[in-house]
């Protein structure tokens, strides 16, 4: 079953045909793959990543989740979110519903600009529009804190990423999908190699998490780093690990990738920020 799926998508990627399988069809294939690989995992549990498929690490994770370090970040994030800019405006003026409970609406395809808009890019756009300097997407800090707070207020809301029926939107989705399945770096791995084909297996000391549910729980408080890590920093980290040159956070490539993986996480609840190793 896995092999057929592999060949099917590989053909699509390699041939790069105009007659794409629809995103809906991709999603069904994707979900079926994981359902077959992990028959005992309930769909809603995929938001918990590797903990949905590994009991021993789940127990430790539950112990940490009882009182997770990221609670400090959520508190900081709330304070930062409510702090007015120099011009007196606040972040709430840039977002619908005053920025509360909206995490699941990102990323979305912006028909006006013809690009994918992510939440963290929107946060920095809000800053730019209000005369403030952008925040870094790396090494934790205020961007990660604000992103964590906004994710936290959205907990329980399900992803329902839409792909409008336009060539541009479809192209963005397909670009994300293509990156996901393309082998890169000295180690010649694709995202799919770990998170579709090897998920559940032991890859040295790690168990790769399943490919659905990834963006539900970011930013993630990584215990190894001792801080929050944003999704795009994590993308960069993964590319570094396979010894590929990473893209810059919030570049078009990563935004398209986030678009693809979030679409694949449709139906799953936002549960960020998450604790991870």
């Amino acid at each position: 079953m896995g092999n057929i799926f592999h060949k099917f998508l590989l053909v699509l990627v390699l041939v790069n045909i105009t007659a794409y399988a629809s995103p809906e069809e991709d999603l069904e294939l994707f979900r079926d793959h994981f359902k077959n690989r992990f028959p005992n995992t309930e769909f809603s549990d995929y938001k918990n990543g590797v903990y949905s498929i590994d009991a021993s690490s789940r127990e430790q994770w539950e112990s940490i989740e009882d009182f997770p370090p990221y609670e400090l970040n959520i508190e900081d994030g709330e304070r930062l979110f409510n702090q007015p800019f120099k011009n007196g405006n606040t972040y709430s003026s840039c977002f619908e519903n005053s920025g509360i409970g909206i995490r699941q609406n990102y990323p979305y395809f912006d028909e006006d600009t013809g690009r994918v808009m992510t939440l963290e890019l929107a946060i920095n756009n809000c800053r730019k529009d209000n005369g403030e300097k952008p925040l870094s997407y790396y090494k934790g800090g205020p961007m990660a804190d604000i992103s964590a707070y906004m994710a936290y207020t959205s907990r329980g809301n399900k992803f329902d990423v839409k792909i409008p029926n336009s060539q541009e939107a479809l192209d963005a989705y397909e670009a994300g999908k293509k990156l996901y399945f393309t082998k890169v770096g000295q180690l010649n791995f694709s995202c799919a190699d770990c998170h579709v084909y090897q998920t559940g297996s032991k890859l040295r000391a790690d168990i790769p998490s399943p490919g659905i549910g990834h963006s539900t729980h970011f930013p993630a408080y990584r215990s190894g780093a001792g801080r929050l890590v944003t999704l795009h920093e994590r993308f960069a980290g993964c590319l570094n690990r396979v010894r590929a040159k990473p893209f810059k956070a919030q570049n078009e490539e990563y935004r398209n990738l986030e678009y693809f993986i979030s679409y694949m996480s449709n139906g799953l609840e936002i549960n960020g920020p998450g604790s991870r190793k």
Binding site: Q60, L203, G224, K277
Partner: protein, 154 residues
């Protein structure tokens, strides 16, 4: 020296003496100072000895140590110690292969319920030992916690 200067000097001297005296009298510590010596020791038996003054330990099933078999990440290893033993004065947690085996110590009071938990850093696979001092005797429970390094996830 005229009278004004003399008075001024006296007052200043008096103030100085009072301040100096105040500094000399340290407030009485309500609790024992941090045991620096114990935390510096790099070998397990010496570490135990520095805490208790001896190495007479009794392994006991009454001490419950909760620790993972394989730590998901050596940076945060959740540990929990509890016991039903009575008159527990202290709980110590030793990690044999850490640079300094004594990770933490908990000095209890008569109001304490003998349960403590924390999260520690472990550099490598090691035996973790919880030591409970009850009625003057030391009871222990140990567990090996594996720490893996070198994942693909980074």
């Amino acid at each position: 020296m005229n009278r004004r200067n003399f008075l001024k000097n006296s007052l200043m001297t008096a103030a100085t003496i009072t301040t100096f005296a105040g500094l000399m009298i340290k407030p009485k510590r309500l609790y024992a100072a941090w045991p620096k010596a114990s935390f510096d020791i790099t070998e397990l038996n010496a570490s135990i000895n520095s805490v208790y003054g001896h190495n007479n330990l009794d392994e006991s099933s009454e001490v419950k140590l909760k620790a993972p078999d394989i730590a998901e990440n050596g940076a945060i290893v959740p540990l929990n110690v509890k016991t039903k033993l009575k008159n527990v004065e202290s709980i110590m947690i030793f990690v044999e292969n850490n640079p300094q085996p004594l990770s933490s110590g908990y000095n209890l009071s008569s109001k304490s319920v003998p349960t403590v938990g924390t999260r520690i850093k472990m550099g490598k696979t090691s035996t973790v030992m919880a030591a409970v001092k009850s009625d003057g005797k030391i009871y222990t429970a140990s567990k090996e916690v594996k720490v893996t390094i070198g994942g693909c996830g980074g």
